[in-house]
């Protein structure tokens, strides 16, 4: 079931606009789910593929989003420039912070990624020229080769979907490649990987940058989906939520991350209709899920 459900989910998302889910509310919700799924996917690659539990992944999303905002403020809205810039900026940020964070492991790594995430958050808050604490509203969505294609909700929906599916296939291919095999080995047994002649650092750092790039892509979509970028969207709580999505779907499974994100968005949406204090319900659910579902909703453990 697990094997096909993400494909099914993507197919459903593809069909949704033709099944009556074509109001502004539905499109917004689906875009949110897809953006978070893309971010969770990249974090799932990191946690499941490389064994790197980052608690600062929202910062990558933020760097991508702020790249869009900053370019927008300077009148650059062409996707052919903005998209690569957002992805490259996030990858670069990942490379720089990862170069230090990956020298450590375990609890140190968690705390350091959290700290770097917080650094990005405070830096964004202090960027007065780009809205500071209040955030920055884009003048317009990014254009593609001069056409304002993304203004079209349907086109934007399918762009998100295509990028999500593409990223999934890409990350899956990477995990199966020579590089990915080394990466998985360093995760499962770093001592053995070293005994095979591989120094884990370079592989982990490359994986960290790849995950950063994909999260930067998610940030690009996030900025365009809401036409707004704010520090609150990249606060450390978002990093915690992304981790939750990853383990909800079962660590080590890329499709699980997609399902986890979808489940998270739906749960959040449902609970929020019940009460303003929905986190009082959500928090205990999270705790119970961690304690009683150690292998995620799918209920199985990989590798």
């Amino acid at each position: 079931m697990m094997r096909w459900s993400p494909a099914l989910l993507l197919a459903l998302l593809a069909a949704a606009p033709w099944l009556g889910f074509s109001g502004s509310y539905e499109f917004t919700l689906m875009a949110r789910a897809m953006v978070l799924a893309l971010a969770a996917l990249s974090l799932g690659f990191l946690v499941g593929g490389a064994g790197l539990v980052s608690l600062g992944h929202a910062a990558m999303l933020g760097v991508g989003g702020y790249a869009v905002a900053i370019l927008d403020a300077h009148g650059v809205t062409e996707a052919l420039l903005v998209l690569p810039a957002a992805v490259a900026a996030a990858a670069l940020f990942a490379l720089l912070t990862g170069a230090i964070a990956i020298r450590t492991s375990g609890v140190h790594f968690i705390m350091i990624t959290l700290a770097f995430g917080q650094m990005a958050f405070f830096t964004a808050s202090s960027l007065a020229a780009y809205g500071g604490d209040d955030g920055y509203t884009l003048y317009a969505r990014t254009e593609i080769a001069g056409h304002r294609l993304l203004e079209n909700r349907l086109a934007f929906h399918y762009l998100c979907l295509a990028l999500l599916a593409g990223a999934w296939l890409l990350l899956r291919a990477i995990l199966a490649s020579r590089f990915g095999r080394v990466l998985r080995a360093t995760r499962e047994n770093a001592q053995r990987a070293e005994a095979m002649g591989f120094a884990p650092y370079a592989y982990r750092l490359a994986a960290y940058a790849i995950a950063g790039a994909v999260a930067g892509l998610a940030g690009f979509l996030m900025a365009n989906a809401t036409e707004f970028v704010a520090p609150s969207a990249i606060a450390w709580q978002r990093s915690g939520e992304l981790l939750f999505m990853v383990i909800l779907g079962g660590v080590g499974s890329l499709p699980g991350a997609i399902l986890g994100a979808a489940a998270f968005v739906v749960a959040e949406e449902q609970l929020a209709t019940l009460t303003e204090h929905w986190r009082l319900i959500f928090g205990p659910l999270l705790i119970l899920a961690v304690i009683f579902l150690p292998h995620g909703l799918a209920g199985r453990h990989r590798g």
Binding site: A173, R178, F179, E188, N189
Partner: protein, 259 residues
């Protein structure tokens, strides 16, 4: 058994005055020895003598406090563990260390990967890489594990895991092998098979063999070094070691084989 190492002039691996302290405890206390191509040099000694710690220092998993490791004429004391593996110094572990989630072939193919092209290739599936699979298969065949190729490594029997451990070392195409108790925990039949495999490997490699199984040691070794409390008690041919009074007193005792 003849001392075959004597034929070859230059030792491949030289340990020169290695020292390692943990707190007040001298675990390696000025150990010097050498290893030649085509030779099996066994290291024996009671539990806690410092054999594993010595292997750690040679392989680069533990940094010595003093002393040098020379490999192929080059001082590798400062080289990292993986860098030493790439230089041709492979090791196995006393406690089995394999990738349990990978198949036996994937294990071996990955071990061969460092010798066959770049590992920074991101798109083609490694499982369909014929070069890697051929090399991995050759290593499995060398230890008689070919028919287990597709089995998940974690599901192999204990003896087979020891064989796989050996195959992983071979697949890195080393010149020297550091083997830390390759027979540990193997049954009688498995032990016999592993001894035959090691004997077949001798001519092509230099092997430093830590082993508690005295029958195996005296059947395989060209030279034996006895370690006690981090010091070299004696080095010599198996016959000489057997005859050495100090060794008998300190270690072999009443012909009892410690384990």
């Amino acid at each position: 058994m003849a001392w075959r190492g004597a034929i070859v002039a230059e030792p491949l691996l030289i340990l020169d005055g290695l020292r390692k302290h943990y707190g007040g405890l001298a675990v390696t206390d000025g150990v010097s020895l050498d290893l030649r191509m085509g030779e099996i040099h066994a290291i024996i000694g009671p539990n806690g003598a410092g054999k594993t710690t010595l292997i750690h220092q040679v392989s680069g998993t533990v940094a010595p406090d003093a002393g040098r490791v020379i490999f192929g004429g080059r001082d590798i004391t400062r080289l990292s563990f993986p860098a030493r593996v790439r230089a041709g110094l492979a090791r196995s572990f006393q406690i089995t260390s394999i990738l349990s989630g990978f198949s036996a072939l994937e294990n071996a193919a990955l071990a061969a990967q460092r010798r066959h092209g770049s590992s920074f290739r991101f798109f083609r599936a490694a499982a369909r890489d014929a070069t890697l699979n051929t090399a991995g298969m050759a290593a499995l065949e060398a230890v008689g594990l070919a028919e287990r190729a597709t089995m998940q490594a974690g599901a192999l029997s204990h003896g087979e895991k020891r064989q796989l451990e050996l195959a992983l070392a071979l697949a890195t195409e080393p010149r020297a092998l550091l083997l830390d108790e390759p027979l540990a925990g193997a049954g009688q039949e498995e032990t016999a098979r592993l001894i035959a495999i090691l004997r077949a490997l001798r001519d092509r490699y230099a092997i430093l063999l830590v082993e508690h199984d005295m029958d195996a040691v005296f059947a395989l070794a060209d030279r034996v070094t006895v370690l006690e409390q981090g010091r070299v008690l004696a080095t010599g041919t198996p016959a000489a070691i057997r005859a050495d009074a100090a060794v008998r007193a300190a270690y072999l005792g009443e012909e009892e084989i410690p384990c």
